[in-house]
């Protein structure tokens, strides 16, 4: 085995990954798990390394934790409700949060799963609608200007607040906030009440 990534031709489609995750859940299928690992482990590692430097040095530990959780929780996965990618991203965010807190000796009676419970309490019908929104978000993200994506990435991938993002990019906070708003508007993620 080597560290060279496989040719893109070997990449699996979103539908195939969803099916793999269902097979892990229903049949404890190790080959399907291996395919998920090959696709997601390098993404989880990148996610770990873009977070705080403290956790970045434990990137492969995070990959292990996340993939073990994927195995353990796969029987609760329902491809009609969420893509494998959304489902695994949520686990990665939770594990990374718990890991930061452990490393900082942040002593709390709560775990990430108390804050972000697995069951979102959404009806199947609603989840199916939201899946369509998710596809749209994915497509539109590619059309956003670079500076807007950069700010979103600081927040979601690097775990920075908007104020921290502003400081790092050497921009006024107002500029960062307006980039986030513009991006959210284009992604149709502004709430109107």
């Amino acid at each position: 085995m080597s560290n060279i990534p496989e040719a893109p031709a070997a990449a699996r489609s979103a539908e195939q990954l969803n099916a793999d995750l269902e097979k892990v859940g229903s049949a404890r299928d190790r080959e399907a798990f291996g395919r998920l690992f090959k696709h997601f482990a390098p993404l989880v590692k990148a996610f770990a390394r873009s977070g705080s430097p403290l956790a970045a040095s434990h990137a492969e530990e995070l990959v292990q934790e996340v993939m073990i959780k994927v195995w353990q929780k796969a029987d609760g996965y329902d491809a009609r409700k969420a893509s494998a990618s959304t489902w695994i991203y949520a686990i990665a965010r939770n594990c990374r949060t718990d890991m930061y807190r452990r490393l900082q000796k942040f002593d709390t009676p709560l775990s990430a799963e108390d804050i972000w419970p697995d069951n979102e309490g959404l009806e199947l019908f609603t989840s199916v609608q939201l899946q369509r929104d998710a596809t749209r978000i994915r497509e539109m993200l590619g059309q956003l200007p670079r500076d807007q994506v950069q700010v979103l990435a600081k927040v979601y991938l690097e775990g920075k607040s908007q104020a921290e993002a502003a400081e790092e990019l050497d921009l006024p906070l107002g500029t960062v906030k307006s980039r986030v708003r513009l991006a959210m508007a284009k992604l149709q993620l502004m709430v109107e009440r």
């Binding site: 085995m1 993404l43 949520a90 990430a112 108390d114 804050i115 309490g121």
Partner: protein, 217 residues
């Protein structure tokens, strides 16, 4: 009917995992009872997953898959740890923070008919407190030195700006001055999260101001 919601910035920070722990608890409690915000939260999490997918991949060491497979083999699968039991009317998240019965918490009186107690969340920048306001009682008039998040767990209260019922999420900034009053028909129980101590503006309580500290732990 829930009328007061966290704004999009707060929901985004919650979905991205950048919101501090104590305010995040309030958002989670709000999501428990607000379908509209649950949908929006899910969309914002989907945005996170779209960004996650776009990252350049980082190769993992050879043999990491084997290590994971071996650990799956060795480690017993954890049982679901979300314990049942306790009062069905009290959200499990709050029960977890109370760690004992509601009546046996360390209640302190503030004003007539109001009791409060601090709960430990581990968030050292935010005080997390429960408020129990007897029917018709009020919290002495105060303003804020920082931001206050309030989540109504039970009953309802009013202040100069509106009426708030179970599930409502209210964010107040420093300038706001108010005297929340519970409705006369029943007690009101709220969660209050502060990042700086309040300042009483009611003359009877003003002398306490220099001694107020943030109980963040």
């Amino acid at each position: 009917m829930i009328k007061h919601h966290p704004d999009n910035d707060i929901l985004t920070e919650h979905a991205a995992g950048t919101l501090a722990l104590a305010p995040s608890v309030c958002v989670t409690l709000h999501l428990d009872s607000c379908e509209q915000c649950r949908r929006q939260y899910r969309r914002l999490q989907d945005l996170g997953s779209a960004l996650f997918e776009q990252q350049p991949q980082e190769a993992v060491s050879a043999g990491l898959l084997d290590t994971v497979l071996a650990r799956i083999e060795e480690e017993p699968e954890p049982l679901s740890y979300r314990q049942a039991g306790g009062d069905p009317d009290c959200p499990p998240l709050v029960q977890r923070l109370m760690q004992r019965d509601f009546e046996h918490l360390d209640w302190r009186r503030i004003g007539a008919g109001v009791q409060t107690c601090n709960l430990r969340t581990g968030d050292r920048k935010h005080e997390f407190a429960l408020y129990h306001i007897r029917a018709g009682g009020s919290i002495p008039r105060h303003s804020h030195r920082g931001t206050e998040y309030t989540l109504v767990l039970e009953g309802s209260f009013s202040d100069e700006s509106g009426h708030y019922a179970a599930g409502d999420f209210i964010q107040r900034d420093a300038s706001h001055r108010h005297a929340p009053t519970a409705t006369r028909d029943r007690d009101c129980i709220c969660v209050g999260v502060l990042d700086a101590p309040v300042r009483f503006t009611d003359w009877r309580f003003r002398p306490l101001n220099p001694f107020l500290r943030l109980h963040a732990h």
